[in-house]
Amino acid sequence: MEEYGIYIAAFAAMAIIGAVLGCIIGIAVKIFKVEVDPRIELVTELLPGANCGGCGKAGCADFAKSVVDGENAPNKCPVASQEQVAAIAQALGVELGESMKKVAVVFCGGDKNQEKVQTLYNGVSDCISASLIAGGPKGCAYGCLGMSSCARACPFGAIEIINGLAVVHPNLCVGCGKCVDTCPRDLIKLVPVDAKVHIYCSSPEKGAVKMKVCSVPCIACRKCVKAAEEGQFDVKGFLVGVNYDAEKLPEADIVEKAKCPTGCLLTADKHVKIEESEKKDKGEAA
């Protein structure tokens, strides 16, 4: 029996130390308790949890805190669906806030087939790096470089590079705006999801200059402006753009009506068409 005494003593000592420390922790928890608003946790759970930073906050938990504090309306989360926003508003008993979902659009139509001048480029495959060298390999100094800097920045995988051109899938885009900050050419803008047509060109150059390097530029012929209602399009120098602040955005049939001579005026589901044409190409090749 005597040879086990040392073990018993060890167990007993550990048990006593454990019990004493446990009590101290228990008391400390009571004394130093941090009051956490349970609503913050609730809102965090209701948010999409992408931690994309599209709201301007450090992450979803930070945004939840700002919503509970009344600093932000629930709809300021660009990712949350209408239902999620409604659920948060209901849980907190606050106003829903007027919501306008926005999606990103790359305002360039110059993919590899449309681009007339393409120089040899052997450098880093990254738009920001490429734009620092002779303005990148594209003939157009304002067009999409297609080296997927925006696609890598997108936390939702909504941007695809199709034939050397970045295209946003509107159904995946949540409008967080990360790509907008990334693009070195400022080609990406957030526009209302209801906008049905866009003018896919951002070059401020003269029409003749654009035509030398690209087959789908906006040459500011104003056919669309004439076909549309007053105020639906903006003319800025040698570039026409849809006026997204207009009360009534142009309908999809404007593409038919305007007969855009270059084809830069397209409906928002343009990328689907590109996919179809790709399939067709492949089909023909097969």
Binding site: T119, L120, N122, L132, G135
Partner: protein, 443 residues
Amino acid sequence: MTTKTYKTVTFKGGVHPARDGKDLSRSAAIQEAPLLDEYQVIVQQNIGAPPKLLVKKGDEVKKGQMIAEAGGFVSVPLHSPTSGKVKNIDRIPGPMGVPTDAVIITADGKDEWGELMPPLDWKNTDGATLKKRICDAGIVGMGGAAFPAHVKLSPPPDKKIDYLILNGAECEPYLTADHRLMLEETEKVLEGAAILGHALGVKNVFIGIETNKEDAIHALLDKCDAYGVGVVGLKVQYPQGAEKQLIYAVTGRKVPAGKLPMDAGCVVQNVGTAAAVTDAVKEGKPLIERITTVTGEPIKNPSNWRFRLGTPVSRAIELAGGITQEPGKIILGGPMMGFAQKSMDVTVMKNTSGILLLEKSDVIQYQSTACIRCGRCLSACPMNLLPGSLSAAIESEKFDLAAKMNVMDCIECGSCAYICPAHRPLVQHFRRAKAEIRNRSKK
């Protein structure tokens, strides 16, 4: 030929391109380009604030007339290269690949000078007047950076300048414009050096020249004593003509990280700048022309030319006999630090030291691979940076780490990328990091 000797100095690091291509145009004397019927003068030809346009479409201009005034302290005016009419103010392809504003001038063929600035007796003129003249003549660093010359000459009063160094290294392969200038217009360069020294109040004036220009060194040695200018030979090693490397080679002083040459008590100017200063001070002529080497294997007659600003590169190439084969690359400047161009529509600017066409076989498309940690970039880097580790940090977008590793001290000389056996685009990475860090500090 003098029997005088000179000492040869160098810096640590750098590379020596085996085929320097200088033999193509080394012995071709400077030729005067004939008057063209149109010049496309890019408005911003200097680093710093863009000049403000003074002319509009339809205006008559005289040769040497100011067509744009300095847009700030770090800016210089721009002058008309010939007499004629402003055809248009248009956007033309700039050297950086982005369309840039330019004044299109149709020459009237008379090539009449407008009113020139009065000549100055520089020995009896104070520094401030000389600096103002250098600014008014639109003189920028003609080696390639196009930094307004008068700014470098105006250090704050607490910085004492001990040395003025004229850069005649011309370490870029292929280029021979400065070589020919020093050989043919030796006195103009030396007098310019003396004027710059006088304007700065500096006694120690040196010209540094790479020893592959033996004839130019001896031409300068013959006449330098009269102007109180010393001649120093430089080992043939790229980038010997980089400001900080040149200062180290000539004076043994090191410019502190993130500081300017004036912090080491030095001012560096190009020999071409010195020649332009002589013209501006002694004859009152503004900077409207420069010496440019048109060279490369595809050029029929590689040669050195005195071109007016705004001469289209396509015309410059025609003057040099045109091309014998389709070029693989068009570069403004030298092959190491020059700017590759998309077309021949660009024009000669104040800093166009060369128009270089490379053969197709010389422009090999390499696929860059992972760093093999051979460390060659370390021994090549003249700024003692760690190009390999830096590029790894930048590839994973760790810009703060890159800043800590002093990426901002990179002079973009391209020695590391030249020597890299894995063909890594190192300089491009550093450029991106520098742009990113500069943007962040702005915010």
